[in-house]
């Protein structure tokens, strides 16, 4: 058996699904990479915005400090009491101002404004003063964060802001403001970049000034994620997991660093998207599979029906009944063409068959028309001999019989004649032969009157009688007898010719039915049989029963053909 090829439906499904998969994968990849890069861009932008926002706020705050400094300077140039009052009030009102300290040029603490807290009498260490080699009066100096060490029972973490100012009498003094982180933390803590991103402040050395999780860092529970990274230059950069954004402040040497997590801002969203896409992809693929399966079925089902129809036609071309195949326009067109073809073929087949039959009929007719010359010669010879003996009556009878024989033989060219005429034909023939054989045999007819009206092929009985005479009776010593019976049996008419001659072997019987007639016999038994079958079908025809030394019985079966139907049967 030859290897089964893949069906069209399968190929279409695979092809469509494959193409869709390929396209989807490609577009997913493309879309994802686009998405990731735009997400990164967005993350960077939002980080940048957050940092800008925070740094602006802190810049403003530092500017605020500058203003306070100039306020202090203004106060210092005024005289005594009133300025003290103002500074105390300032420390009390502004919760972020812990204290204001004033140092002389040698760095000795000369004055302090500490609000509600009191200055220690003996302090162990002064962490607020920023000792430098030289001071630029226009610059604010900021310390690292430290604990306020000068106040009693109050140890907040502060940043010291120092500026050199000029007092009322022209002496230079260094003013330090200790500020708590409360304001700064407000600015920084509220900056969120994504869910976990944050900002923090460092100084130019990278020391952390303020961090939202400063206590965690101080407790040693966490380390800043950017520790070890170079944060010296402004701008943003990426590590494997972080997006960092560094921005220096305008009015001091602090920097604001924004840190956000790629995993959170990009990767998590990417994964989420990927998950969604996967679900969508699966659905699309399944739908595609289903649709392409259905579509392909739409195409292949009618095609398969068409194939089946063709198969049926192949098996039985003549008996095939066409049923139209429904489907798409193309399929229907195909189906119609096929129908057309089937009709045409069937018509042609019919035509061929008809032509064949008519050819055969014509052929048989041509044979019928032939007159056995020996028979004619012998008969004429016999008639001549009768005339010589002046047996006029007999000669007239013979001539009449011969004339009848020929007239019926010709029958105006009709093939079918009434059984009555056929019987007359047989009688004429028997009369002639009986005369010729000098009454060596006798014969009789037993005919049902009803059957006479029906039609039969002409020259049906004569060849059989001829056969009975030549092969059965001729060689007999005793008187032979031929009995001819015609009777109806159901819808059929049966002709039966019996003789009591020498009989035939089975082989002879068969050969008579099959061999072509020789030269001497005009129309053979085979011819009779063939004609009946051609005209009426296979179930009709001739059968021979014979027994050696007993006799032969030839039976012919024919349908009852009415007069009006005869013309139809005869038509070619």
């Amino acid at each position: 058996m030859k290897k089964r090829k893949a069906s069209l439906s399968f190929i279409i499904t695979i092809l469509v699904v494959g193409l869709v998969t390929l396209f989807l994968l490609w577009s997913t990849f493309f879309f994802l990479s686009l998405y990731v890069s735009s997400m990164k861009q967005a993350a960077q932008t939002s980080s940048e915005q957050a940092v800008t926002q925070a740094s602006n706020a802190i810049s403003n705050y530092i500017g605020d400090m500058q203003e306070i400094m100039s306020l202090i300077e203004k106060n210092l140039t005024k005289s005594g009491e009133k300025s003290d009052q103002t500074l105390e009030t300032l420390c009390n009102v502004r919760s972020d101002l812990v204290a204001v300290y004033i140092y002389d040029e040698q760095g000795r603490l000369t004055d302090s404004y500490t609000g509600t807290h009191t200055l220690k009498e003996h302090y162990l260490k002064d962490l607020s003063y920023i000792a430098l080699d030289s001071y630029n009066p226009d610059v604010l100096y900021l310390s690292e964060p430290h604990v306020e060490s000068l106040l009693q029972d109050y140890y907040p973490w502060v940043v010291s802001v120092l500026q050199e100012l000029t007092g009322a009498d022209g002496q230079r003094m260094r003013v330090v403001i200790d500020i708590r982180f409360s304001k700064i933390s407000d600015y920084v803590d509220n900056v969120g970049i994504g869910q976990h991103g944050y900002c923090f402040i460092t100084d130019s050395n990278g020391e952390i000034i303020y961090h939202p999780q400063q206590q965690l860092l101080y407790s040693g529970l966490k380390k800043e994620a950017t520790a070890g990274l170079d944060l010296s230059s402004n701008g943003s950069f990426e590590t494997d997991d972080l997006i960092c954004n560094v921005r220096s402040l305008d009015n001091c040497d602090w920097k604001v660093v924004g840190v956000s997590y790629i995993s959170e801002l990009v990767t998590a969203k990417e994964m989420e998207l990927l998950g969604n896409i996967c679900v969508m992809l699966t659905i699309i693929l399944l739908v595609t599979m289903l649709v392409s399966f259905l579509v392909s079925r739409l195409v292949t089902n009618p095609v398969q029906r068409l194939i089946r129809a063709m198969g049926e036609f192949e098996k039985d071309a003549a008996g095939y009944v066409y049923r139209p195949v429904e489907g798409t326009m193309e399929i229907e067109a195909l189906s119609q063409s096929y129908e057309h073809m089937v009709r045409k073929i069937q018509k042609l087949m019919n035509q061929v068959r008809q032509e064949e039959i008519s050819l055969r009929k014509t052929e048989l007719k041509a044979l019928q028309a032939q007159i056995n010359p020996h028979f004619l010669y012998n008969t004429l010879d016999a008639i001549g001999w009768l005339c010589e003996e002046e047996r006029c009556q007999d000669a007239v009878e013979m001539v009449n019989a011969l004339a009848k024989l020929f007239r019926i033989s010709i029958s105006k060219g009709h093939e079918l004649i009434t059984i009555q005429k056929e019987v007359e034909h047989a009688r004429s023939y028997l009369k002639i032969q009986n005369f010729r054989y000098k009454n060596q045999f006798s014969y009789d007819f037993q005919i049902e009157e009803d059957c006479l009206q029906y039609y039969c092929n002409k020259i049906t009985l004569q060849p059989i009688i001829e056969n009975a005479i030549y092969h059965g009776l001729d060689r007999m010593v005793d008187e032979g007898h031929i009995q001819i019976r015609i009777y109806s049996e159901g819808e059929d008419v049966i002709f039966r010719v019996e003789d009591n001659g020498v009989g035939m072997s089975e082989e002879q019987c068969r050969s008579i039915l099959h061999k072509e007639p020789g030269d001497n016999s005009g129309i053979g038994i085979k011819n009779v049989n063939d004609r009946i079958k051609i005209y009426f079908g296979k179930e009709y025809g001739l059968s021979i029963e014979s027994e050696l030394d007993v006799g032969t019985c030839v039976t012919i079966r024919m349908p009852k053909v009415e007069e009006n139907a005869a013309a139809g049967w005869e038509k070619v």
């Binding site: 220690k120 003996h122 302090y123 162990l124 260490k125 962490l127 690292e144 430290h146 604990v147 060490s149 009693q152 029972d153 109050y154 140890y155 907040p156 973490w157 708590r180 982180f181 999780q213 400063q214 206590q215 965690l216 101080y218 407790s219 040693g220 529970l221 969604n276 679900v279 969508m280 699966t282 659905i283 399944l286 739908v287 599979m289 289903l290 399966f293």
Partner: protein, 327 residues
């Protein structure tokens, strides 16, 4: 036959689409916030406030509900048991516990554990085998550090007075044990006296004063928690013996830091309460997320801070809480 296969394929496809659809719109179950009860010895001291601050920070970070509770008196284990019971009835997921009494708190903790509540001990241990994790100072080690700080004095003969708190509190006893084991090896140590006081400044002040007055030879005083440290500091200040007596105290408090600066206290053994609180809640979060197999004991470091190094940047970070507003 073929038709059957086709039908099967068709139904499979449909089932697949349906399943995919269901997956797509399957709602994410909203997870209940983990609830953690932090039940400790006291709510007033700077130490516990720092614990709460740490716990609060972790709670924010891990999105956990945390409640804080502690008895008014640091000896009141019954109230503490009552608090545990209340937390159990509230249906908390995790109890972060610091035991007033090593044995007296054990039963209720076992009960809570049986109900499926995870137990995390911070600072002071409880006699229970159901504890998932113990976080805190290695108290024996802390005692040894206190001993080192105490022995840093130049005096040739040492008469040591120990002002310890409740004898049933596990961590106090551990610290004393570590301390005694270390100083007993020093030949200069002539005598060690221990008194146990209530964990209040006043009681410790009175107790210390009485001890110092009854034995004037005492030139080293050691005490093991925040309140007793203040009491001892006040007693020294009252008796004006700051110069004579080497005082080693525990924990960082605004007052005790001031005393360190002014000399009543010579060394502070500073623990990391913020880390205890933070790690406690972090561990709770991990336990609730099903991450087991973390360490069963976490040692938060202790540091000796003296007058000389108290304003060093590193000491500042340890000594002074950045988050002044507390929790």
């Amino acid at each position: 036959m073929r038709n059957k296969i086709r039908k099967k394929i068709l139904s499979l496809l449909l089932a697949g689409i349906l399943a995919a659809g269901l997956c797509g719109c399957g709602q994410e179950a909203e997870t209940q916030k983990t609830r953690v009860a932090v039940i400790v010895k006291s709510t007033e001291s700077a130490f516990w406030k720092s614990v709460f601050a740490g716990a609060g920070a972790a709670a924010t970070e891990y999105n956990i509900n945390v409640s804080f509770d502690g008895p008014a008196a640091e000896e009141d284990y019954e109230t503490q048991n009552e608090m545990v019971r209340r937390a159990m009835d509230d249906g908390v997921d995790v109890i972060i516990f610091s035991a007033v009494d090593y044995n007296a708190n054990a039963e209720i903790i076992d009960q809570a554990a049986q109900r499926g509540i995870k137990i995390i001990v911070i600072d002071s241990d409880v006699n229970s085998s159901q504890v998932s994790c113990r976080i805190g100072t290695n108290n024996l080690q802390a005692g040894i550090k206190a001993a080192e700080a105490a022995l840093a004095t130049d005096d040739e003969e040492l008469y040591i007075g120990i002002v310890n708190y409740d004898v049933n509190s596990a961590n106090g006893q551990q610290r004393e044990l570590g301390f005694r084991q270390t100083v007993e090896q020093d030949p200069r140590v002539k005598n060690i006296t221990t008194i146990n006081v209530l964990s209040t400044t006043e009681d410790a002040r009175a107790g210390a004063k009485e001890m110092l007055l009854s034995d004037s030879r005492i030139n080293v005083v050691v005490t093991f928690n925040e309140w007793t440290s203040l009491g001892v500091g006040w007693a020294i200040r009252d008796l004006n013996r700051a110069d004579r007596i080497q005082v080693v105290a525990f924990d960082s408090n605004v007052v005790s830091v001031g005393m360190l600066e002014t000399g009543e206290v010579d060394a502070l053994i500073v623990q990391n309460p913020y880390a205890m609180g933070y790690l406690g809640v972090e561990t709770a979060a991990n336990l609730m997320n099903g991450q087991t197999g973390g360490p069963s004991v976490v040692d938060t470091a202790t540091t000796i801070v003296t007058r000389e190094n108290m304003y060093e940047p590193e000491s500042q970070k340890i000594l002074f809480s950045f988050e002044e507003e507390g929790y």
